[in-house]
């Protein structure tokens, strides 16, 4: 395609392929609009959106970990009660007087250990992931009951720990009703995105590659700016940026970097695409597998911490069904069931889609039984749409 002139039809095609990549965002927007209408305007309030984000945090980080697992054609069914158990462990440690930072570090390390052990059983012993992680799910359900048995619910006594999922970055100043720190953070992230996109484009120019047309590029930038702008203003109207947002953004940034810019990321995608070929190309596939499960354990621990902090206590049933929400988030976001394809950033948006459903349905007063029913239907529809638009099918 050396011709420089593009026909209108080709422009159309570029637009369509680009839109396809943003399908998730469009889905999210549609859900927002529907709930906004159904709830008579109480869905898209500063308060509720803040709430929604803080609610999503624990599933979002677990979806990030799960994305890697699904890409390498494995599955992790244990993260629900592993997260529940580790949350309770954190509560116990705090109760025993351990300081917040050591508690968090210990719990995260425990998560990594649990993931490592599962990875070793799967990778070295050769028990399939489905079975290993199912067994761990049973086991940790038992352990969770054990450590919460004596006391029942364990309340969190540390304010700092509680702040993790309920607190906000400190206020610097106020502009009218709006939070100043939030506006600054918003402005900085807008600038960062515009800057990095322009740099990317320049780099492409330097290599003399064809990039998307200028018009489309500007549209894309405007879209991002508008999105972040709106979010910033909305959040600033309530209490600003929560610590959950900060944590999720950091996690996504690190994982995206690893997946897209490092050897390990390449190996993960390659191994997902064809493990045998990857191995014969010099990938230590066992190490990648064990590492992925360790990372999943870490994210489960973080999820457990966020959830416990959110509730302000550890309960005997915490963690039930988290794994399914995390898996659904990934699949809704286009992770392939046959492996090799997926993106952590999209999976986080997938988590938002799932949680905004729960949040919105709650808001308009739909009963829990119908909530599950509706979630199931939307899940199928979303994946069907994704599959059709990419022209890949489950069979043939």
């Amino acid at each position: 395609m050396s011709e420089n002139k593009k026909t209108g039809r080709e422009y159309g095609k570029t637009l369509v392929t680009n839109l396809r990549n943003y399908l998730m965002y469009i889905a999210l927007a549609v859900i927002f609009i529907v709930f906004q209408i159904l709830s008579n305007g109480s869905f898209l309030t500063a308060r509720n959106i803040t709430n929604l984000i803080n609610q999503t945090g624990y599933i979002a980080v677990m979806a990030v970990g799960m994305t890697l697992i699904l890409i390498i054609r494995q599955i992790d069914l244990s993260v629900g009660f592993v997260a529940g158990f580790l949350g309770a462990a954190a509560a116990r440690l705090l109760k025993a007087g351990v300081a917040v930072l050591p508690t968090i570090l210990i719990v995260l390390a425990m998560g990594v250990m649990i993931g490592l052990v599962q990875g070793l059983i799967i990778g070295k012993v050769g028990v399939p992931a489905f079975i290993t992680t199912l067994a761990f799910e049973f086991g940790f359900r038992g352990l969770l009951t054990l450590i919460t048995e004596a006391t029942g619910t364990i309340p969190i006594q540390s304010d700092v720990f509680y702040e993790l999922s309920n607190g906000f970055i400190p206020e610097l100043f106020k502009i009218g009703d709006l939070s100043g720190s939030c506006l600054i953070a918003g402005a900085i992230s807008m600038a960062l995105i515009v800057f990095s996109e322009i740099r990317k484009r320049k780099e492409l120019k330097r290599y003399k590659f064809e990039d998307m047309p200028v018009l489309l590029f500007i549209l894309k930038l405007l879209f991002f700016v508008a999105l972040i702008g709106t979010l910033t203003v909305v959040l600033a109207g309530y209490r600003g940026i929560s610590w959950t947002i900060v944590i999720v953004v950091i996690v996504v940034a690190i994982y995206s970097f690893v997946m897209n810019k490092t050897k390990v990321g390449r190996y993960i995608y390659g191994m997902g695409g064809n493990p045998e070929a990857a191995q014969l190309s010099g990938v230590d596939i066992k190490r990648i597998l064990i590492g992925s499960f360790a990372s999943m354990g870490l994210m489960a621990a973080l999820g457990g911490i966020l959830y416990t902090s959110r509730l302000g206590s550890a309960t005997p049933t915490a963690g039930m069904g988290f794994e399914l929400d995390a898996i659904a988030s990934c699949y809704i976001a286009g992770v392939s069931t046959s492996g090799g394809v997926g993106s952590v950033a999209n999976s986080v948006i997938g988590a938002f889609v799932i949680m905004s459903l729960t949040n919105g349905l709650n808001l308009i007063g739909v009963g829990i039984s119908y909530q599950y029913l509706i979630k199931g239907i939307i899940f199928i529809l979303a994946v069907a749409l994704d599959v059709r638009s990419r022209g890949k099918k489950a069979l043939g």
Binding site: F209, K261, K263, R266, G270, A277, L280, S281, G282
Partner: protein
């Protein structure tokens, strides 16, 4: 009389960024063997997929006229019902089913709503006999060699009562003996009234078997040649295929062999970890710097096993004794990773199974075995990757709109070139190539041979495992012949002949 069983008129078909077929006309006479030839990516497979309904009606332009009637196939099933059977480039057998189950897969013999197993096995036996196979229909598909599998595919086609049989590169993964066998069978089927369309890059067999040859180039029919109208020669076919005369199939080469031994294998033995069987017995070989070693032998002689046991210490051939020396130092590769790090590369023979990551694009696959080359302080530079991949794509002429093309959408031969690109990119000291030109057209073969010459000129050494005797003779400085896990002969370039190689490849008498 011109009795055409099939006429395809003005067929055009496009994929995003690729015009695969442009106004192709293709006519096949009843009862003939018609060969379809052309360079990699010329559109041969695509044309046959259009014919058999794999690319359904509506996804292409033009008409398919079968027995005088226009056909509009929406599925492969519909084309099968009219007597068309296609055997794809990539075999479609299910390894864990029995031979009989495979033959009747999709059109089982039923009795009162249940599968009639007695009849199934009885019928299977009859069809197996028809293709000259003497195997148990109850045996598992996975236990049979590729040659046998290919024949089972034909038995399957016959069981569907095929009148028009399409074979896409049926001999590309067969050795000479199995190939000859298959061609004989096709002749036999022809006598029984089956019309055959065969795609092949092996021009010798095309010349020997075809009544008519249609040549495709860049998605268009360039010439149709009939044996009863003109004399058919390989050179003529090549001329139309590549658009110019090719005087030589092998590029001129000067020996770059040095006295320095790069790699040495001493008393190497390997056992199959599962069955305990010995697969390699006391292998001794030497590779000099700048040398191209040919490894000849029949299928199952242990050449791939030798490569894998050296390179990967893979689970199947784990237990090995013996010594390896690389540049004079004793080595052992604990994993492919280790081998690659130390400068040994192995390009597998089965690109689909373990050579490539088909869901990824050209650049991803090209850089995969040597990401360090595009990394800068640990960070992958994607733009640099595109530049590098593009360079290789140009130099070995991979036909694709861009290096961002997903491999699944490339023609078979172009996929094979990506395998080579990947290992060239890894810049090893010793490159083991397992059937490097399988399914590659004459022009591209020439390019690959030229590339091999380049590599040895730069001081690399190559071990080339190949079942094509002429290729082994044409390209090697020295040849080892294997038979049943042993090296039975060693020949220098000047002494090598087809007869001598075949003698060692079939004879157990060891050369001392």
């Amino acid at each position: 009389m011109n009795d055409y069983i099939l006429e395809m008129h003005g067929i055009s078909k496009s994929f995003p960024g690729v015009k695969a077929l442009i106004d192709v006309n293709f006519s096949v006479k009843r009862g003939e063997i018609h060969c379809l030839v052309g360079e990699n990516g010329a559109g041969k497979t695509t044309l046959m997929k259009v014919l058999s309904g794999i690319h359904p009606y509506g996804s292409y332009e033009g008409d398919i006229v079968l027995n005088g009637q226009i056909m509009k196939f929406n599925t492969i099933r519909e084309s099968e019902n009219t007597g068309i059977a296609i055997i794809n480039q990539e075999l479609a057998l299910i390894p864990d089913l029995t031979v009989a189950e495979n033959i009747f897969f999709g059109h089982e013999i039923m009795k009162r709503g249940l599968v009639d197993w007695n009849e199934t096995y009885k019928q299977a036996d009859i069809y197996l006999k028809k293709v000259g196979l003497n195997i148990n229909p109850r045996s598992l598909m996975r236990d049979h060699r590729v040659g046998t599998q290919q024949l089972v595919e034909i038995a399957k086609a016959l069981s569907k009562n095929a009148k028009l049989m399409i074979l896409d590169e049926p001999t590309s993964s067969l050795n000479e003996e199995d190939s000859a066998n298959l061609l004989r069978l096709l002749k036999e089927l022809q006598k029984q009234g089956v019309t055959i369309i065969m795609i092949s890059h092996r021009l010798k067999e095309v010349v020997s078997i075809a009544e008519t040859i249609t040549i495709l180039r860049d998605g268009a029919t360039v010439y149709t040649m009939r044996a009863d109208e003109e004399e058919i020669t390989e050179n003529k076919i090549i001329k139309y295929m590549v658009g110019r005369e090719m005087d030589n199939i092998y590029p001129h080469r000067e020996s770059c062999v040095t006295d320095e031994v790069l790699f040495e294998v001493k008393d190497w033995c390997a056992y199959n970890a599962k069955s305990g069987q010995t697969v390699l017995k006391n292998i001794n070989l030497k590779v000099h710097k700048g040398e191209i070693i040919g490894m000849a032998g029949l299928m199952g002689a242990g050449r791939t096993e030798l490569a894998l046991s050296i390179f990967g210490n893979t689970p199947e051939y784990k237990i090995t004794t013996g010594e390896l020396y690389l540049e004079g130092n004793r080595v052992r590769f604990s994993s492919p990773k280790d081998a690659i790090k130390k400068g040994v590369a192995y390009a597998t023979e089965d690109r689909k199974k373990n050579g490539l990551i088909l869901i990824q694009d050209i650049k991803f696959n090209t850089s995969f075995a040597n990401l360090d080359r595009i990394r800068n302080r640990g960070v992958i530079n994607r733009n640099e990757e595109v530049v590098q991949a593009n360079k290789l794509k140009e130099s070995i002429n991979i036909k694709a709109p861009s290096v961002q093309q997903i491999l699944r959408n490339l023609s078979g031969g172009n996929q094979q070139k990506v395998v080579l690109a990947k290992w060239i990119f890894a810049t090893p000291k010793l490159m083991i190539l397992d059937e490097p030109t399988r399914g590659i057209d004459v022009g591209a073969k020439f390019e690959i041979y030229t590339l091999m010459n380049e590599m040895v000129k730069q001081g690399m050494s190559i071990i080339m495992i190949s079942s094509e005797l002429l290729e082994v003779i044409g390209m090697s400085d020295r040849i080892y012949v294997m038979h049943e896990g042993k090296i039975t002969g060693e020949l220098s370039k000047s002494e090598a002949t087809e007869q001598k190689i075949m003698h060692f490849a079939t004879n157990t008498e060891e050369l001392s």
